[in-house]
C-alpha cells in the first residue's frame, strides 16, 4: 500500500513537561465517572468526517495547536450540539508562550493543556490562522473557552475507556512512515514529533485519527490506527496521550437558534 504524504510536524517531544500534565490533570477514571453517559446512547461508530472540519497547518509547525483547537471543537459539540471553529493560531502561539519556545519551532502538549484548561481559547474568527509565522496576539480578544483534562493516559485500558466514552484524545508521538498510512497497524519510534486528535471508533474496531494536513490527505483528512499500534506507541516513553472532556466547560452562551 502506498504511503500517504507527510506534512509538517511540530510536536516538541524533547520539551514535553509530563510532570506538569500529571500534576494538573485529573485521574482519567474519576473524570469518566463524572462525565455523564449520553442520553440517548452516543453512537461511537459514527464517522467523525461527517462532523469535523479538517484544517491544514500548511508549512507551520503548528500541529499541536491544530490538535488542541480540534479537541475544543469536539468537546463543545459534545456539550452543546454546536460546531464552533476555534483558533489553532491562538492554541499554537499561546502554547509556545507557555513553553518559552520562539520561532516556528513547534510546541508541547503541556503547553496546549495550559491553553485549553487554564488560559482559555478563542474563536478562529478572533485570531485567524495564516500560513506565516506571526505570534502577535490581536488586541482586545477574549479567551473564555476552557475544558477539563485527564492525566496522561498510561495504559491501553485507560485509553480505550476514554475513547469508548465518546471523548477526544490529543496525542503526541514520534511520527514516521509507519504512521503515514491509510491504516496504521504497527508503530516504531523515530522521526519528528506530531500531534493529532483521536475520536470515535470504526465498526471494525480501529480508531480514527484526525490529522491537520488538509481534507485531501487520505481522502478526508482522517486515517485509522489499530489498537495494537496505539498500544505500541503508548508504551513508548516519548508518547503522550491526554483525554479531554467538556466537564465544567466554560463558554459564553451562544445566540439561541430555532
Amino acid at each position: 500500500m502506498a504511503l500517504l504524504p507527510q506534512g509538517q510536524l511540530g510536536y516538541r517531544i524533547d520539551l514535553e513537561n509530563v510532570d506538569y500534565l500529571e500534576a494538573v490533570g485529573q485521574p482519567s477514571m474519576e473524570l469518566l465517572a463524572k462525565y455523564r453517559d449520553s442520553f440517548p446512547q452516543f453512537n461511537i461508530d459514527a464517522n467523525p468526517a461527517d462532523l469535523v472540519r479538517i484544517r491544514n497547518q500548511q508549512s507551520l509547525g503548528s500541529c499541536q495547536g491544530h490538535a488542541a483547537a480540534m479537541v475544543m471543537s469536539i468537546c463543545v459539540f459534545l456539550a452543546t450540539g454546536r460546531w464552533i471553529e476555534f483558533s489553532p493560531a491562538a492554541a499554537y502561539y499561546l502554547s509556545q508562550r507557555r513553553d518559552n519556545i520562539r520561532g516556528d519551532n513547534g510546541s508541547t502538549l503541556s503547553g496546549g493543556n495550559w491553553v485549553l484548561t487554564q488560559h482559555g481559547l478563542c474563536l478562529e474568527s478572533d485570531w485567524p490562522y495564516v500560513n506565516r509565522y506571526d505570534p502577535t496576539q490581536p488586541p482586545g480578544i477574549q479567551f473564555p473557552y476552557k475544558l477539563a483534562a485527564s492525566k496522561p493516559l498510561r495504559t491501553i485500558d485507560e485509553w480505550v475507556a476514554w475513547n469508548e466514552a465518546g471523548l477526544p484524545i490529543q496525542g503526541g508521538l514520534a511520527w514516521n512512515d509507519y504512521c503515514n498510512r491509510e491504516l496504521v497497524n504497527d508503530w516504531r519510534p523515530g522521526g519528528g514529533g506530531h500531534s493529532t486528535t483521536w475520536w470515535l471508533r470504526r465498526s471494525n474496531g480501529n480508531r480514527p485519527n484526525i490529522n491537520s494536513w488538509g481534507q485531501n490527505w487520505n481522502r478526508d483528512g482522517i486515517h485509522e490506527w489499530t489498537l495494537d499500534a496505539i498500544e505500541k506507541a503508548l508504551r513508548h516513553q516519548w508518547t503522550v496521550f491526554i483525554g479531554y472532556a467538556p466537564d465544567n466547560l466554560t463558554m459564553p452562551n451562544p445566540e439561541p437558534i430555532a
Binding site: 455523564r36 453517559d37 449520553s38 440517548p40 459514527a46 474496531g205 451562544p254 439561541p256 437558534i257
Partner: protein
C-alpha cells in the same frame, strides 16, 4: 480493607445473553456496604466494625469472551411518554479479578464492548431492587387506546403542550413531522450519522418548507404552529442560558411526542 461483601444469597434474575462469542451473565445480589472485618458464621454475616452497614442492590457481571479488551458500562433505563430511553444517570461499575460489580437499582442495561481481535458488543438487562409487581394483565374485552391529554405531553422545555395545542387537526402530517424531530434528535448522537443542531434544524426547516398540505387553511395553520414553536424554543434557550446537547435532544423529542398525539 474490604468494604464490600457480595452475598450470593438471593438471586433474583440471571439473564445471560449471547451475541456471537460474548456471553454475559448478570446476577442480582445484595451488597453489604460498610463492613470492616466480616465473617460468615452459621448462615449469618457477623461484622466486628462500628460503621453503619447498608444492604444495597447490586449485580455481579461475568463475561466469557475470546477478546483481549473489555469495557463494561451500566446505564439506567427510564420510561418517558411510554418510550424507554437510556438515562443520563451513570451507574458505577467496579472491576474485580474475574467479574464486575454494578451497584444500583431499577432497570439497568449492561453493555459489554470487547475488542482485539475485531470488535463485538453485547448487551443484557437486569432489574435490581424491589421485585416489580406483575402486570395484572388486560381485563375482559379489547383494551382501548388511551387518548393522550395535554397533561400527558412532556413539557419540560415549554414546547410540548404548545406543540399540541397549536397544531391543526392534521394527524397525518403531524406524524410525518414528528419523525423529522425524532430523527433530528438522534443525529446529535450519531445515529445514523453525526450532525450539529444547526444542521438538523436547517433540515427540519427545509422539509417543512417542502411539505404538502391538504388545503391552504391547514398550511397557514402549520406555518403559525412553526412560528410559535420556534419562538418558544428561543425563549427557553434564553431562560436556561443555553441548551446542552441533551437539552436539544429532549426538546426535539418533546415536540415529536406532542405531534404524535395530534388527532
Amino acid at each position: 480493607m474490604m468494604r464490600w461483601i457480595i452475598m450470593l444469597l438471593a438471586i433474583a434474575l440471571a439473564s445471560p445473553t449471547a451475541w456471537a462469542e460474548i456471553k454475559i451473565d448478570a446476577r442480582a445480589v445484595r451488597a453489604i456496604d460498610g463492613t470492616t472485618t466480616p465473617a460468615i458464621v452459621g448462615g449469618r454475616v457477623l461484622d466486628y466494625g462500628t460503621d453503619e452497614i447498608k444492604v444495597t442492590p447490586a449485580a455481579v457481571i461475568t463475561i466469557e469472551s475470546p477478546h483481549k479488551y473489555h469495557l463494561v458500562r451500566a446505564r439506567k433505563l427510564v420510561t418517558i411518554a411510554g418510550q424507554t430511553f437510556v438515562s443520563g444517570e451513570s451507574v458505577p461499575v467496579t472491576k474485580l479479578d474475574t467479574a464486575y460489580i454494578v451497584a444500583g437499582d431499577g432497570r439497568l442495561r449492561i453493555t459489554v464492548i470487547a475488542s482485539d481481535p475485531g470488535l463485538e458488543e453485547a448487551e443484557t438487562e437486569i432489574v435490581l431492587g424491589p421485585t416489580p409487581q406483575p402486570d395484572p394483565g388486560p381485563g375482559p374485552g379489547p383494551t382501548p387506546t388511551p387518548t393522550p391529554t395535554p397533561n400527558d405531553i412532556p413539557n419540560a422545555y415549554n414546547v410540548g403542550q404548545l406543540s399540541l395545542s397549536k397544531s391543526p387537526p392534521d394527524a397525518t402530517l403531524a406524524r410525518t413531522m414528528a419523525q423529522w424531530y425524532r430523527e433530528a434528535g438522534m443525529r446529535l448522537y450519531g445515529t445514523p450519522t453525526l450532525a450539529t443542531i444547526d444542521q438538523v434544524l436547517k433540515d427540519i426547516a427545509n422539509k417543512f418548507a417542502a411539505k404538502q398540505c391538504r388545503d391552504q387553511p391547514t398550511c397557514q395553520a402549520w406555518a403559525a404552529w412553526k412560528q410559535s414553536i420556534d419562538t418558544a424554543m428561543i425563549a427557553e434557550q434564553r431562560r436556561r442560558g443555553r441548551f446542552s446537547r441533551e437539552d436539544w435532544y429532549a426538546c426535539l423529542i418533546e415536540i415529536a411526542t406532542a405531534l404524535e398525539a395530534v388527532r
